[in-house]
Amino acid sequence: MTFYHTQENRNITLDEPIKCTKNNAWLGEAYYFWENEDDAVFWGIKFKNKTGKYDIYKTEVVFDDILDTVFNREHYFFWIKQIEKAAKYFVKKTGTKPTLKEINDFFTDRGIWKEINGILFQDISENPVHFMVKEFQYKKRIQLALYNKEKIINFALSYSG
């Protein structure tokens, strides 16, 4: 399956994606990709603009053992159950709520996510181009957090903006 990776343009062409380790990375430390190119471009314009330019890389990802919470009903309900279970345990045993990133990092650290290569996840885009109908955002913004880099093939620069 084809995915897109956005980075700031630093006059270097990447051979592989950069792992996101930021605190606001929803699904923990992983290689993040966009399902739709327009989301990748919007991300570049809006958030990867420190150098004034951004790059979009296109890649194929072998979609094996990906927890697909977007299109797979069974995976989605499994995912919700595990996140809520983890959140309850954290609150009960530590007295504080974890973030989604912390839960995912915890699963990674404890070897749980060894069983999967990544998670497909969605939220709602802020891209005004997506708002083609009044009052309701109907389009999903889909991201892949890939934990296993070996599933990436043909990673290459597609576009500089």
């Binding site: 069974e74 045993k93 007295g95 912390e102 990092d105 749980i112 069983e115 999967i116």
Partner: protein, 81 residues
């Protein structure tokens, strides 16, 4: 293909084996680095602020009360005088 049942059991087992200390230590290290070396182990405690009787003035201050030097002269001129 992901075996969801197997994964579910693995996660259940994981949380059964985690103690309050191990989870708190992991979370503290994640949020603040290896801070548990300084703080030791323990739970997060929600602190409530409490008034101490030592610093509560017995007499309430009345900011509307006129002082003895009150006059029609603005305070800045009174100081100069």
């Amino acid at each position: 293909m992901i075996d969801l049942n197997k994964l579910n059991k693995k996660i259940d087992k994981l949380f059964e084996s985690e103690t309050s200390d191990s989870l708190t230590k992991w979370l503290l290290n994640k949020r603040f680095g290896n801070i548990s070396i300084l703080l030791g182990n323990g739970k997060f405690v929600s602190m409530k602020s409490q008034k101490t009787p030592l610093f509560i003035p017995k007499k309430k201050v009345n900011f509307n009360q006129k002082d003895d030097n009150s006059s029609n002269t603005p305070p800045i001129n009174r100081l100069a005088a």
